[in-house]
C-alpha cells in the first residue's frame, strides 16, 4: 500500500466517523447515514483499487473514473448547498420568532411604564392641588 492510500483511507474513515458519531447528526435521516456509509465504502474501494472507478464509469457511459467522480461531486455539492440554504432559513425563522417575542415584551413593558407614570403624574397633580387648597 502506498503512503497516499494510507493517508486517504485514514482521512475518509475519520471524516465519516466524525459525521456519523456527531450528536447533531442523530437528527438527520437514516437514509442520509446509509448513503454516507455507502459513499465512504466506495471511497475506500476506489483508493485501494483506482481502476474500480474506471470500470463503474464505463458501465454508466462516462469515459473516465475521474470524470465520474467530478460529476457525482458536483451533484453532491449542489445538494449540500441547497440543504444548507434551507437549514439556514429554518434557523432564521426560529430566531425571528425569538426576536419578535423579545421586542413585543419590551414594548409592552415600556407602554405599561408610560401609562403608570402618566397616572402617577396626574395623581401628584391632584395632590398638589389639594395641598394648596388646604
Amino acid at each position: 500500500m502506498i503512503v497516499i492510500q494510507v493517508l486517504l483511507i485514514t482521512g475518509i474513515i475519520a471524516a465519516f466517523g466524525w459525521f456519523l458519531l456527531n450528536p447533531r447528526s442523530q437528527q438527520t435521516h437514516a437514509w442520509i447515514k446509509i448513503a454516507t456509509l455507502l459513499f465512504g465504502a466506495f471511497a475506500i474501494i476506489v483508493v485501494i483499487s483506482p481502476n474500480t472507478s474506471n470500470v463503474i464509469a464505463r458501465a454508466v457511459g462516462v469515459g473516465r473514473g475521474a470524470d465520474l467522480l467530478l460529476y457525482t461531486l458536483t451533484l453532491a455539492f449542489v445538494f449540500v448547498v441547497i440543504n444548507l440554504y434551507l437549514k439556514n432559513r429554518e434557523e432564521r425563522e426560529r430566531y425571528e420568532k425569538l426576536a419578535r417575542a423579545f421586542a413585543l415584551m419590551e414594548a409592552n413593558l415600556a407602554e405599561q411604564r408610560r401609562a403608570s407614570s402618566k397616572k402617577n403624574a396626574s395623581d401628584e397633580g391632584a395632590q398638589g392641588r389639594s395641598a394648596t387648597e388646604a
Binding site: Y85, Y95, R100, A103, E106, A107
Partner: protein, 227 residues
C-alpha cells in the same frame, strides 16, 4: 380619533424624516406603532420623542418581519379593527390612508390596497416604473389576483385579514406574500389610487432594482421548500 385603527410602520434608518412622518400621522391617528428594525442610526431616539409606540427589533430582520411584529402588537388590542401599513420614509400621504380607511369602514371590502399606477407617482424614474410594472405582471400571473401595483406599502385592512396574514419571508418578498395571503383568504379587496412622492430622500433610500432578483429567488425557494 380612529381609536380602533393601528398604523403600522416598519422603520429602518429613517432618523432624518421619521419625526415629521409621525407628526403628520398623529394628526389623524391615535395608535401609531413604529417597529424599529435594528436601525444603526438614531431612529429609536426620534421615535421615543413622539407619542407613538416603539417596538424595537434587537436585530435587523427585514421589512416583512417588522410588519408582522407590528401586526402582532396591534392584534393584542381586542378593539383593534383596522390596520394601516405605511412607509416610514414619507412617500405616502396621510390623506390617502384616511380615504382608504373610509372605504374599509364602509365594509364592502376587507382589504384596500394603494396603487401608484391608478394614482400619481411623482418624479418616478422611468426604469423603476417599468420594473414595477413587470413585477406586477409576475405577481398577477402567480397569484391569480389582478392588481396594478404589487409593491405599494400603503394598505388598509380589517382584523379578519390581519389575523390570517402570513408573512414568513425576510426582506422585500413580503409584498408578494401579502397578495398570496389575500388570494388564499378569498377576502374582498379593492385598489385605490394613491400618490407616491419620490422625494430626493426616498429615492436615495429605495431598494436597488437588482434586489428584485433576490426577491424572485426567495419566493422560488419558498415554493420548493413547500413541496
Amino acid at each position: 380619533m380612529n381609536r380602533d385603527t393601528y398604523v403600522i410602520m416598519p422603520v429602518y434608518n429613517e432618523a432624518p424624516v421619521i419625526g415629521s412622518v409621525i407628526e403628520e400621522l398623529s394628526q389623524a391617528f391615535e395608535n401609531i406603532i413604529c417597529i424599529n428594525d435594528g436601525s444603526t442610526d438614531t431612529s429609536a431616539v426620534e421615535i421615543r420623542k413622539t407619542p407613538s409606540v416603539l417596538v424595537n427589533h434587537p436585530i435587523n430582520l427585514g421589512q416583512g418581519a417588522a410588519l408582522k411584529t407590528g401586526i402582532e402588537y396591534a392584534l393584542q388590542d381586542v378593539n383593534a379593527a383596522y390596520f394601516v401599513t405605511f412607509d416610514s420614509d414619507g412617500q405616502h400621504k396621510v390623506d390617502d390612508a384616511l380615504k382608504m380607511l373610509e372605504i374599509a369602514r364602509e365594509g364592502e371590502f376587507d382589504v384596500v390596497l394603494g396603487s401608484r399606477f391608478l394614482g400619481k407617482a411623482e418624479n418616478i424614474n422611468p426604469v423603476r416604473s417599468a420594473f414595477l410594472r413587470i413585477a406586477v405582471l409576475f405577481s398577477n400571473i402567480e397569484t391569480g389576483i389582478r392588481l396594478t401595483d404589487a409593491h405599494n406599502g400603503l394598505r388598509v385592512f380589517n382584523r379578519k385579514f390581519a389575523e390570517q396574514l402570513d408573512i414568513t419571508m425576510p426582506g422585500m418578498a413580503h409584498a408578494t406574500e401579502v397578495i398570496h395571503s389575500l388570494a388564499k383568504s378569498g377576502l374582498r379587496y379593492v385598489e385605490m389610487p394613491v400618490t407616491v412622492l419620490y422625494t430626493e430622500y426616498s429615492r436615495s433610500k429605495s431598494q436597488s432594482l437588482i434586489n428584485s432578483v433576490n426577491i424572485g429567488f426567495d419566493l422560488l425557494m419558498k415554493r420548493m421548500a413547500r413541496k
